[in-house]
């Protein structure tokens, strides 16, 4: 697990939910659901790695496992050589995450929320204040909005603040769980440009889940398609499309997705 060129190493990881202890008296009941089923993958340093999958396929669970928010039932996950279970603190200093729900203290302003986040990661307050303004203005927020309560902001604006919060700690691994879901086309483009900038100018490795095929194709160096907790394909977008025969037209990434999973894409929160 100690290859510096490898940002994330996932080996035979299993995560089950619904397994009840059965109390202290009875035997364990069988697991209700396997969310991640013997998943193995490597993400290279500096790569934008996409994970596509239908609702409930295990994408968000995989991200939570890497983010130290869930413990794997089996297998190992390493982040820049650190095990996410045994060396969780070291992993936490290297990563940050944006989830599909922009989770904030709604009465507090973006500045107050981000200052809180920055302090948690040991960023000095003066530096954090300057960078909050820079990043949020770079993402298209007006200065007035930076000091107004989050509850007065649209979901798109809240999501931009969430991205700024994740970037504020300068993570070298950024976990983006459907970061553009619910954003208008302009905001979506701004966020996508920012993601590219993070990779190109800040040496960040990015793991991205999305329901947007064009976004995945435009941003990702490689894509894993996950279904029922298992990886059913993993390759570059171009190589994935070559897997399908040309039936009068060049296959799209969506064609590949539908072929491999047999399910349509819908944007929703998942387990």
């Amino acid at each position: 697990m100690n290859n510096p060129a490898i940002a994330v190493q996932v080996e035979n990881v299993v995560k089950r939910f619904g397994e009840q202890a059965g109390g202290w008296l009875g035997p364990k009941r069988p697991a209700a659901k396997i969310a991640v089923d013997r998943v193995s993958l490597q993400i290279r340093r500096g790569e934008i790695f996409g994970v596509l999958g239908p609702n409930g396929s295990g994408k968000s669970t995989l991200i939570r496992l890497i983010a130290t928010l869930l413990l794997p039932d089996d297998g190992q996950i390493g982040v820049f050589g650190h095990d996410v279970v045994r060396e969780a603190r070291q992993v936490q200093t290297l990563i940050n995450r944006v989830s599909v729900e922009a989770s904030f203290f709604k009465k507090l302003s973006p500045m107050e929320n981000l200052l809180y986040g920055a302090r948690l990661y040991g960023v000095p307050a003066d530096l954090a204040r300057r960078r909050v303004v820079e990043i949020l203005q770079r993402l298209g927020l007006e200065e007035r909005a930076i000091y107004s309560p989050m509850e007065e902001m649209s979901r798109g604006m809240q999501q931009k603040v969430a991205i700024a919060r994740a970037f504020l700690s300068q993570p070298i691994l950024l976990l983006l769980d459907e970061p553009t879901t619910g954003l208008d086309p302009r905001s979506k483009r701004e966020v996508q440009a920012f993601v590219r900038e993070l990779r190109d100018n800040h040496d960040a490795t990015i793991l991205l889940t999305t329901h947007d095929m064009s976004e995945a194709e435009a941003l990702c160096d490689r894509i894993a398609i996950i279904d029922g907790g298992r990886i059913v394909a993993l390759d570059t977008p171009a190589a994935l499309k070559q897997r399908l025969p040309r039936n009068g037209h060049a296959p799209t990434l969506e064609d590949v997705f539908l072929e491999l999973t047999g399910k349509p894409l819908t944007a929703d929160d998942e387990a």
């Binding site: 928010l69 936490q92 989830s99 203290f105 507090l108 809180y116």
Partner: protein
């Protein structure tokens, strides 16, 4: 050194965040303060009216008012600390930020240190207002009172209550839907057995056993000696040392229990669920 600075910065994050929350909810804070003052005054009025209610004339109402006022003030102080510390998870579940905070690189000790430091400061301010209003309202004389000894007891009591509160804070981790409400059971039990408004000697024998386990009992008994009798601080030691022992045991136990609960929540996926 930089690790310690980062940890302190992270710990201060909780103080600053909670101050900001209190500022944003200032109207609610004002309502809560008025309610608390009114509640404390109404309990103290029982002392004024006790003679009329019982028909007895030998009741020292001034003493009784102060006895009840000490109960309300000490209880307010300890219970406010309890609620702020137990809310360390509940508040974040409500706002949906729990995952974000628990994936930050901060030890749970420093996390709790920030939250409890704010809880003690908030409670001191809140209780101070109630104390001043009560003294002025009932024209209570505190000439013989040992205020320093009273303060020492409050601080010693804070430590043991912080430990109990950390244990209580794991309930919202274990039970996402009703965990916050379940913490009321702990505070209700302590209220019953600690002699907040009556001597514990009036309780049935089996309940009195529990009063020895409650730190509030020692704070209240000591506070009454300090404020009503003006007992010197050194003579309060029999009330202070049990509080220090309880704090020394309950804080590490609470942190360990929180660690286990956090691992359980991460194993079962309960962090994600909003209650």
């Amino acid at each position: 050194m930089s690790v310690i600075v980062n940890e302190l910065r992270a710990s201060y994050a909780f103080i600053e965040r909670n101050v900001n929350i209190v500022k944003r909810y200032w109207a609610w804070e004002l309502v809560w303060l008025v309610y608390t003052v009114a509640n404390s005054l109404s309990i103290s009025f029982i002392g004024v009216g006790a003679g009329q209610v019982s028909g007895g004339s030998g009741i020292d109402s001034q003493y009784l008012v102060l006895y009840l006022a000490i109960g309300t003030i000490v209880w307010r102080y300890l219970s406010v600390i309890f609620y702020w510390v137990t809310d360390v998870v509940g508040l974040e579940r409500w706002e949906g930020t729990i995952e974000y905070t628990l994936m930050a690189p901060i030890t749970r000790f420093m996390h709790m240190l920030g939250q409890t430091a704010f809880a003690v400061l908030y409670s001191l301010v809140h209780t101070g207002v109630v104390l001043v209003v009560t003294v002025l309202f009932f024209d209570l004389t505190m000439a013989n009172a040992n205020l320093f000894g009273f303060l020492v007891l409050l601080i010693a009591g804070s430590l043991s209550f912080i430990g109990i509160s950390i244990v209580g804070s794991i309930l919202p981790l274990l039970f996402p839907e009703r965990g916050s409400q379940m913490t009321h059971l702990i505070i209700a039990g302590l209220l019953l057995v600690s002699g907040v408004y009556y001597p514990v000697s009036v309780l049935p024998g089996w309940l009195q056993v529990f009063s020895y386990l409650s730190p509030a009992t020692y704070v209240l008994d000591g506070a009454r000696l300090a404020l009503l009798e003006g007992a010197p601080t050194l003579s309060l030691w029999p009330f202070i040392w049990p509080l220090l022992v309880m704090g020394a045991l309950s804080i590490p136990a609470g942190l360990q229990a929180f660690h286990w609960a956090e691992r359980y929540a991460k194993r079962t996926g309960k962090l994600h669920r909003n209650g």
